[in-house]
Symmetry: C2
Subunit: 549 residues, 2 copies
């Protein structure tokens, strides 16, 4: 109970499910309840539009709306959720720059944290793939694609050019299909600015493990999408998985190695860590609810949206017996949840959730789509117009609706924009994967970072002052690239992986700062460079401490 004696309802998550749940609760409960929503960002992301943001057909700020604007009368708190204490009925959060520990109490808790992604099951995928979940992902993909075109236009190395001009999307569901379509439009729509790239040098791939695209739609629409993509020059690989990824290639489950520097993963839904931590019933990565949307055994906890596994029948058995993770269902669930929560407060019995999908739509890019609405099937331009109209009707807020509509019209008249909005590579550390034979760097490259070997084995080759060739192997716990300690240094050696390997990479800036400031590193690297580069310890049996480069 709040200070004023109102029931406190806490909604965790600000996506479709959480945002609409807070909205409906506010609407249906009036002054009976105090409603608070906690989310890690202060905006609602209109996720179905992310591929269009990536492609530049709508602008960033029109794919998002401030939660505070969408939720008048709801307390909105931007914070990181750390823990939930079910016994004491408090959610523990960290807020502000100081990451201050704060407890927020509740009488009812609504879990709408969406589904987590885990790419770690495929080696290298988490390190090298782009994703399509958050607003930042869309911007990152856009910048990445344009960066590859810029690079392809100026490189003189055919292999690098080929890798730069091969773009891969993994997963043939809604997100993958829409992403590959929009990405293809972005690439082909930008090509006239790149005089050194020919159309036939571009390769766009969509990889799907099942034997068809768009599993949620009727087979005929999946087939339409596939033949449309074929016409557009998008290669669709069905019955194909990915078994490994690096910065320059993927390996498919059929053993094919595809050289590519752009991999977008729209797969990898993972079990909810929060559900596991709290011991809530969970299945297929989602929190199992009763048909009332209540979590079994916890009358004050509710779940909905992608985070929840909601049965649509009393004895569910197959996949279609559960509510699918779509915006359409999330919005319905939100309304139902608010009604049931109100019933619970009034000590009435909750109603089971039931809803039948009104249809599904997917955009294929280039002004084409596929749709199944009220049993009708549409393809091509009419389906695309329907798709746009449907989603526009969904966008919360008149101002944003008007903006998006005007932007779409402007685009039809003025063409798209090929602008990167920032291409500074991030600082800090990252994990990288290399396959046997891959080159990490070569003599003459700029020394832009330092590498610590986690697994595998590398060979370092260099010439000494007399021109004699040297070779050194570097295994786990070894490191290379210390030359990054020298501001603006160039690599004096070449490093290649001789086994499949993983490294931790540290940017030159951060490595210089740490090695000059932190005593154990200063001791370790003090005098190191002089020894490694000026006095290559070739004789004496003393290894030159895994370096050069």
């Amino acid at each position: 109970m709040s200070a004023s004696g109102q029931t406190r309802i806490l909604v965790l998550g600000g996506g479709f499910a959480g945002m609409f749940a807070a909205r409906e609760l506010r609407r249906q409960l009036g002054a009976h309840a105090e409603i608070e929503l906690i989310n890690d960002v202060n905006y609602f992301v209109f996720q179905p539009l992310l591929p269009e943001v990536a492609a530049g057909s709508i602008s960033i700020r029109d794919a998002v709306s401030p939660l505070r604007r969408l939720l008048p009368g709801v307390r909105v708190r931007q914070a990181q959720i750390y823990d939930i204490d079910l016994a004491r009925k408090v959610v523990v959060i960290f807020q502000g720059v100081q990451r201050r520990y704060v407890e927020v109490g509740y009488d009812h808790l609504v879990l709408a944290l969406g589904q987590e992604i885990d790419l770690s099951r495929i080696p290298g995928l988490a390190a090298h793939a782009l994703t399509m979940k958050a607003l930042g992902d869309a911007m990152a993909l856009r910048n990445h694609v344009i960066d590859k075109l810029e690079h392809a236009d100026i490189t003189t190395l055919p292999e690098v050019k080929r890798e730069c001009l091969t773009f891969t999307v993994i997963g043939g569901g809604f997100s993958g299909v829409e992403t590959v379509g929009e990405m293809r439009d972005l690439i082909f729509g930008s090509l006239h600015f790149y005089p050194n790239i020919r159309k036939d040098e571009i390769r766009v791939l969509l990889i799907e493990f099942a034997d068809r695209l768009l599993g949620e739609l009727p087979a005929s629409l999946g087939a339409y999408a596939q033949s449309f993509f074929a016409k557009q020059g998008i290669e669709v690989l069905l019955k194909t998985g990915v078994s490994e990824a690096t910065g320059t290639a993927i390996v498919t489950t059929s053993g094919e190695v595809i050289g590519t520097r752009t991999v977008v993963a729209t797969i990898g839904n993972a079990p909810s860590k929060m559900a596991e931590k709290l011991g809530l019933p969970n299945e297929r990565g989602r929190i199992r609810t009763e048909r009332s949307l209540r979590v079994e055994g916890h009358p004050e906890i509710w779940a909905l949206g992608d985070a929840a596994l909601i049965p649509l029948v009393d004895t569910p058995s197959a996949r279609h017996d559960y509510a699918p993770p779509t915006a359409q269902f999330a919005v319905r669930e939100a309304r139902h949840l608010a009604r049931n929560l109100r019933a619970a407060l009034d000590a009435r019995a909750p109603e089971p959730f039931r809803y039948k999908s009104k249809g599904s739509l997917a955009s294929l890019g280039a002004g084409r789509g596929v749709a199944e609405v009220f049993g009708w099937r549409l393809t091509g331009f009419p389906a695309w117009v329907l798709w746009r109209t449907y989603y526009l009707s969904f966008v919360p807020g008149f101002a944003t609706k008007a903006r998006i509509a005007s932007q779409w019209m402007l685009d039809l008249v003025l063409g798209r924009s090929t602008v990167q909005t920032g291409n500074k590579p991030p600082e800090g550390t990252k994990y990288l994967r290399y396959r046997a034979g891959d080159r990490v760097f070569e003599e003459g490259n700029r020394a832009d970072g330092f590498y610590v070997v986690k697994s595998g084995r590398f060979e370092l080759t260099w010439r000494d002052a007399e021109g004699k060739a040297n070779r050194l192997e570097i295994g786990p716990d070894g490191h290379f690239g210390e030359r990054a300690l020298l501001v603006e240094g160039l690599r004096t050696g070449t490093v290649r992986a001789i086994e499949d390997s993983e490294v931790l990479f540290v940017t030159a800036r951060d490595f210089q700062r740490l090695a000059s400031t932190l005593p154990p590193l200063r001791d370790y690297f003090g005098g190191y460079l002089e020894q490694a580069f000026n006095l290559p310890a070739t004789a004496a049996g003393q290894p030159p401490r895994a370096d050069a480069g």
Copy 2:
């Protein structure tokens, strides 16, 4: 000469000066020359609009245009410039992900790299101030301001709230005045979404070292700006400099300490490192040219824009004898440079550059401005409309013009958008400054990073298992915050600066990765936490190695 026997002209920099120089060269030299432009990003930034991007009154993508679209017939190369070899007439660049070393030859070189910023002369300013030069700066300022409002709305600590709601801009020239005006609009326009923030809690400050604002404009217009700001609730501190900055305060030259978590620095123009490295004549941080825009002693090198010190008379003495660093002049210089370069190729004598400013304009936010045009002075709304129209006329490309105009109209109708576009703090390392007495973190905060002391002194206080208070001092080369090694740990101690101090901060993620992977750190920190936290070495005279927290 290029392979085809054309003269090769290389333009370095893609701002107003470089972009317009490449455009004019292309236009005036036709097939006689091959023109290439090298820039670190692939877009032209319309810098006068950056404060409006920060405030959200125009969208990111409309403040930038792809260089390739603006420069048909010009080769555009996105790369980092590393060095110039004047003797061999090559520019050395790094391109691509590999940072490959590439040499690009030239017959004529046009330097348009703009002016560098150096905030290092004021302690803490480089570490803690936001700037307003690049597109990313505008987005960062916007996100920062909204983040402070979010935090102020939910914090229960009056001091934190006061710091969050105090916004400071340093520098009262065009950039500072426009930034403070737009920032104020963003803040006050967003306030109705923050129920716990009262208008009178907001403090917006503009700090200027001179005795007036807008030094480039007549005194009466500076005075107008000042009185307009007073009405808007913006405090203007004249004859005031800043002597120190931290994450929570600035100290003025009059010794006043102002608690603030937002500091935007529009000051600090620095000498060109490239000019110094190449030994080109330079003065006041700019490359000195002849009146022809040629660099003295280098007939094949030209300079213009903010990077160049261009005399407007034969014997310049005062500041106004040189071309001011404005877009208006840069565009004129570009045209003149192209004409003179053509004359040089035809072995004709170059003409001296002469141009008289047609006027100056500044926006003050809230639909008000000041202007002096052809000797007329305008203030208020008419000046603001003139400002917008003038800059719109400048924006290159019809498509972008139309977009911006439509967006401005939409804003008038629909109101502004209060959306953050991403608030994930960057990973890696950063330097931080603390004043004596400042708290770094306290017991119960989330352990989100690790600190190495560069200078100064800190005290760590904590309670042991028996509740006994402990205290430890940590000086240079000491470190604290090792608890960040524990995933999701909370601070068990409190750290305060007891002198003015500087630290290197490493985010928890990167610290964990490094400490678990890099052998010297693994050795150093192995068993460290157990020792530091489970066995607080209080007796035995053995210090607990500067930690806890």
